[in-house]
């Protein structure tokens, strides 16, 4: 269930080309096709952006897209997730997958909309933080629903803490692919898609997803996740500031927690302050700071500062947690002083990810189960955290591939596609 071509962007020449997308048949769907494309253009060390077979549909938690590239931290190929609405917007953008190679001689951003690809000048955006960049691109295009994957100042500088951001809220890019964007002078990839996805057997697909959704857990907040980890009550810690829980695209759960601290959390009308707070998207960052004895409000302000700057919130929070904050006014200084000394990971676990995948997804289940959730999730476009916390029937999920697009997948084929 893809539509549109493969887009090949050459930042050296400032040109784009399109090819028919036939990698699913050759390599498999989702990340298998993404890695296939990465290897095809491997000499140019590209960044590949894509989404899963079911991304953008009524399949539970079908929000997932990805960026594949060489991690500046390890020199190895790595995958970073595109959650929230970004993965679905990739799927609907009119391009099945996007391969970006070369280095621009001036800052640019890529504007992908309804099958049209424009390379835009980003000189005025260089040096600006992710909040300013998202606002500026949306303003320039006159469209408030554009999804912006951006490289904040830490990414431009090639910091070891660099992490691309999705809109205002940071991301699970623990591999430093934001710095790989910055090194190419690629300030952002902006996406807006009004495309349509046609399942091969629409009614069978829809009815099967409705059945799955009816049995899918939908508790808001980080509760299921922190209970599964045996970690502290991060929801209770954030509670006094919680305005609302937010889902990624098509996810019945809603881990993302919007907190307000620049106005009361109870303010509902839109006429209050312009920037009332932050959406907490990283349970790991919140858990590190809570465990480090931080009060929730300065901790959320620190997460905002990291999201603005393009800093990996998990490693940043882990480093911040080592030094309890004495003066709440010192948040900005503490974030500016980060050195990148802490490793990525989750409290009370020494798992740091595996192979292609960083530790964005909590270390639930055995290492094999964790890996299987990644393989399935990145091929189909389903959030691996949801797979691990929902107990969703994976056989039923695999059964969606036929009505989606006639692709038959089983665990054996999945392991071949993503060893």
């Amino acid at each position: 269930m893809y539509y549109g071509d493969t887009l090949l962007v050459n930042l050296d020449t400032g040109t784009t080309e399109q090819f028919s997308f036939d990698e699913v048949g050759v390599f498999g769907p989702g990340l298998a096709a993404g890695i296939g494309l990465y290897e095809k253009y491997g000499d140019a060390d590209p960044l590949v952006i894509g989404s899963g077979l079911l991304t953008g549909t009524t399949a539970p938690a079908s929000c997932l897209g990805f960026v594949v590239g060489k991690s500046p931290l390890t020199g190895e190929v790595a995958v970073s997730p595109l959650g929230l609405y970004a993965g679905a917007e990739v799927k609907l953008s009119g391009f099945a997958m996007i391969v970006i190679r070369g280095t621009s001689d001036k800052p640019v951003y890529l504007w992908l909309h309804d099958g049209v690809a424009d390379i835009q000048d980003a000189s005025a955006l260089w040096g600006r933080d992710n909040w300013e960049t998202t606002d500026a691109i949306r303003q320039e295009m006159g469209e408030g629903l554009i999804q912006v994957i951006s490289a904040g100042p830490a990414c431009e500088e090639g910091s070891r803490l660099a992490s691309f951001s999705i809109d205002y809220w940071g991301s699970g890019d623990t591999a430093g692919l934001g710095a790989a964007m910055g090194a190419r002078k690629l300030k952002a990839v902006a996406l807006r898609g009004l495309g349509m996805l046609d399942p091969e057997d629409p009614e069978a697909y829809y009815e099967a997803t409705m059945e799955m959704l009816a049995g899918s857990p939908a508790e808001p907040g980080f509760g299921r996740l922190s209970k599964g980890l045996g970690a502290g009550d991060v929801d209770g810690w954030l509670k006094p500031m919680v305005h609302r829980y937010r889902s990624c695209f098509a996810c019945p759960a809603a881990c993302n927690t919007f907190v307000k601290y620049n106005e009361p959390a109870s303010v509902l009308a839109p006429d209050g302050v312009d920037e009332p707070g932050v959406m907490v998207t990283s349970a790991a960052a919140a858990l590190w700071l809570m465990g480090g004895g931080w009060e929730a409000e300065p901790a959320c302000r620190a997460m905002e500062a990291m999201a603005r700057a393009g800093i990996d919130q998990v490693r940043g929070a882990r480093e911040l947690a080592e030094k309890p904050l004495k003066d709440p006014a010192g948040v900005a200084a503490a974030v500016s002083a980060l050195t990148g000394s802490a490793a990525a990971g989750w409290p009370s676990s020494d798992r740091v990810g595996s192979g292609l995948f960083g530790p964005w997804v909590p270390p639930l289940g055995s290492p094999d189960e964790w890996m299987e959730a990644h393989r399935l999730g990145y091929l189909l476009g389903i959030c691996p955290t949801y797979l691990l916390t929902s107990g969703i029937d994976r056989g039923a999920l695999l059964g969606l591939c036929g009505p989606a697009s006639g692709v038959e997948l089983d665990t054996g084929r999945i392991a071949e596609m993503l060893p």
Binding site: G56, T58, H113, Y168, M196, R246, F249, P252
Partner: protein
């Protein structure tokens, strides 16, 4: 009988839009549904749900819900983004009668933020 909204129970998952769009087109997109999220003020976490009927728009705004007659709205209004197909030119809600099903947006909402009254 119409679809109504408890906006602060909505988490912004878009499943209602997908379900409604599917009942019109047998495909997934965000442009044909009679129900849509208003999510243009992301930094403020301001999120509402709009349902179009033959006569009016039901605006489920966090600060209060109301039905507004179509004639009282400016043309092209109720958008939520310039490239979103404006709600006024979408199909009006038919309570899913055209496909002989219960209201699919209500059935799919994981947070019971939609109901029929």
């Amino acid at each position: 009988m119409r679809v109504k909204v408890k906006p602060m129970d909505c988490t912004g998952c878009a499943l209602c839009e997908l379900a409604c769009g599917f009942h019109w087109d047998e495909a997934f997109s965000l442009i044909s549904a009679s129900i849509m999220q208003y999510r243009a003020e992301e930094k403020k976490d301001y999120l509402g749900i709009i349902v179009k009927t033959e006569e009016d728009l039901f605006l489920g705004r966090p600060e209060g819900a109301e039905a507004v007659k179509l004639g009282e709205l400016q043309k092209g209004g109720g958008g939520g983004g310039a490239s979103a197909k404006p709600i006024l030119i979408r199909e009006a809600c038919d309570m899913c009668e055209s496909v002989g099903k219960d209201p699919q947006c209500v059935a799919i909402c994981p947070h019971d933020a939609l109901y029929v009254e």
